[in-house]
Symmetry: C2
Subunit: 368 residues, 2 copies
């Protein structure tokens, strides 16, 4: 079997599909949610815990890791698989988005990005070719091209420029690739303009990537605009290749966009919200610090089989959150990630057995 490769196992009338992405570090059954390990760890979870909740592919960030601990160090420590202590598949984002969002951007031109490190203020420059080389040296299974993101309120001229630059960078990235056991995904940009999105998708498809990501969404726009663009673009992407909707989202988003035919998702919500005392359940959000839970002897979610729900009551989790005990953040993150991965497992089961979307909706509960 050639890796990486992607197979669509079955399709639903809605557009949703059951697939499998084969990588050198094992398969990823899709639709899949990728826990986020930006700096080299999923916040608060051991790899053993990640594996137990059914995570397959983990997402990390090439830009952040190149800043700290640095590519040389990661190579010495066994590549990114060694750093994450994760034997399974790993996808890295290029870090273009982080440079923008961390305000590390100094200057951008067609050649690349001048940035200022968010860690020590040092200036640096990287090109699309650099970012491919970094991801190859990290030994990742799926790499992303460097792209240019613009805010939701950017002028049309600015969006046009960024989209064209992203396409040019994508072509250079594909040309710079030397490792063929690493999948390289192009990133569709184009703001909220259907024509620009179509042009971007068409140009990237012509370059021919191993998969296609959709970026530049959830940058401040309404959920309706997000869904409109996501729905427009998905129809333009090759059916035989995996589709990754970047940075999404709530459980409702996962169900909505998996239904459209997206295959891969990532989001910091389960861990970040978990640390802040928000737990995802079939009944909706549980804000665990609420005084009503002080003496509540029920698990967070009675339908849940995770370690947190098998071991802890709401009352205890509230106490841990109020006391700012690290364990409270860990247990909440574990539960939330389990909720996300279980939702994806249920979506896949529903597609496999022909009960989509009903079975998936039951798993999503109040989020459906």
């Amino acid at each position: 079997m050639t890796v990486p490769s992607f197979t669509v196992e079955c399709r639903h009338a809605s557009g949703a599909r059951l697939g499998r992405l084969e990588t050198a570090h094992g398969p990823v059954d899709t639709p899949a949610f990728m826990p986020v390990a930006t700096h080299g760890a999923v916040r608060g979870l051991t790899p053993e815990q990640l594996s137990r909740i059914g995570a397959t592919m983990v997402l990390s960030n090439a830009y952040h890791l190149a800043q700290r601990p640095g590519v040389d160090v990661i190579e010495a420590l066994g590549g990114l698989h060694g750093l994450l202590a994760w034997p399974g598949p790993i996808l890295t984002d290029s870090g273009g988005y982080q440079v923008f969002s961390l305000e590390g951007l100094i200057r951008i031109d067609d050649g690349g990005i001048d940035y200022r490190s968010h860690l020590d203020g040092r200036r640096g420059r990287f090109t699309p070719e650099d970012i491919v080389a970094v991801q190859e040296r990290l030994g990742v299974d799926v790499a992303m091209c460097l792209d240019e993101c613009v805010p939701a309120d950017a002028s049309r001229a600015r969006v046009v420029e960024a989209t064209e630059r992203t396409t040019g960078w994508a072509r250079r990235s594909r040309g710079a690739q030397s490792r063929r056991d690493m999948a390289l995904f192009g990133i569709v940009q184009g703001g909220f303009d259907e024509g620009l999105r179509a042009r971007s998708a068409d140009d990237l498809t012509t370059i021919d990537f191993d998969g296609y990501a959709v970026g530049g969404l959830s940058v401040g726009e309404s959920p309706e605009r997000t869904a409109a663009v996501a729905g427009h673009v998905v129809a333009l992407l090759p059916a035989a290749r995996p589709r990754y909707l970047m940075g999404m989202g709530t459980p409702r988003d996962l169900l909505t966009f998996a239904t459209m035919g997206y295959d891969l998702f990532d989001c910091v919500l389960p861990t970040r919200n978990g640390r802040n005392g928000m737990l995802f359940t079939r009944e909706g959000k549980v804000m665990i610090r609420n005084a009503r839970y002080a003496r509540d002897c029920r698990p967070v979610d009675e339908h849940c089989s995770c370690y947190t729900c098998a071991t802890y009551t709401r009352g205890v989790l509230r106490h841990l959150a109020m006391s700012k005990e690290m364990l409270g953040a860990q247990l909440a993150s574990l539960h939330n990630l389990h909720f996300y991965t279980t939702l994806m497992t249920e979506i896949r089961a529903a597609l496999r057995e022909g009960t989509f979307p009903e079975r998936a909706r039951v798993a999503a509960g109040a989020w459906a």
Copy 2:
């Protein structure tokens, strides 16, 4: 079998003994180290992880828990065993030491302590009888009497007063006890005065407790003075009852004081130092943030079988510490507690098989 009960299984010429404390929640093989769960959790560790590293009895704090979340709430959540999600034995300290060390003390008299809550500044008062009642309601297996601690530089008159008060409180505590399935330990005080220590030990022995703790050490004195008092007092305590040396210590301390005949220990060092990047190994301290470990592919301790050492290299642990990733604190705490519990397991094995102290010294390595 009556619980609680204590059996000395064998003795070594040094004074060290192998014992077993039976409780309603299972046995504690001694000498034993108790991980510290002051506020309702061992910092960063799940009960499953605690169980896997061989922890048997966990220590918590009656005063802190009575402040937050409160005894009523803990009762509603299944007692302290429910709060800690720990099915095994639990010992609570009374909290006298915490009132002193948190500067919450307002006034002390023979009747009890007026204090100001460190959480919300509210004033309150508790008596020795209150503290016994709290521990009974928490459902703990081993409770401590309220005692009065004084600093190492206290005047003789002050030490005499505190020691006499501690004895009076111990008598009242024993009288207030209603649950006979809970062991109650008296706490020997007396500062650094051999006569006062002897008097305290004698008075408490006359009251007849289920076990005896030695308090008022590690309050700023030299290690030699600590050892002198600990060695003096241990000979005065009934051989048939468990002996608990409070708040100790380094691995070297555990070996030293187990050799004297102490049975129970607790200390925040393994978790606190772990959070700060200090790891205990047979070769001594590893300050994991040190740049020399950046590319070090060895485990923290090549002799160690814990999850951290089985899964992570020093280089990765350094990166997690430098990045302030919560997981780094968790993994370091797990390793350190494993080092402590394993040392105690080796001490017990050495006593059982007649290789004490040699086998124990191997386990302690540079700490012996």
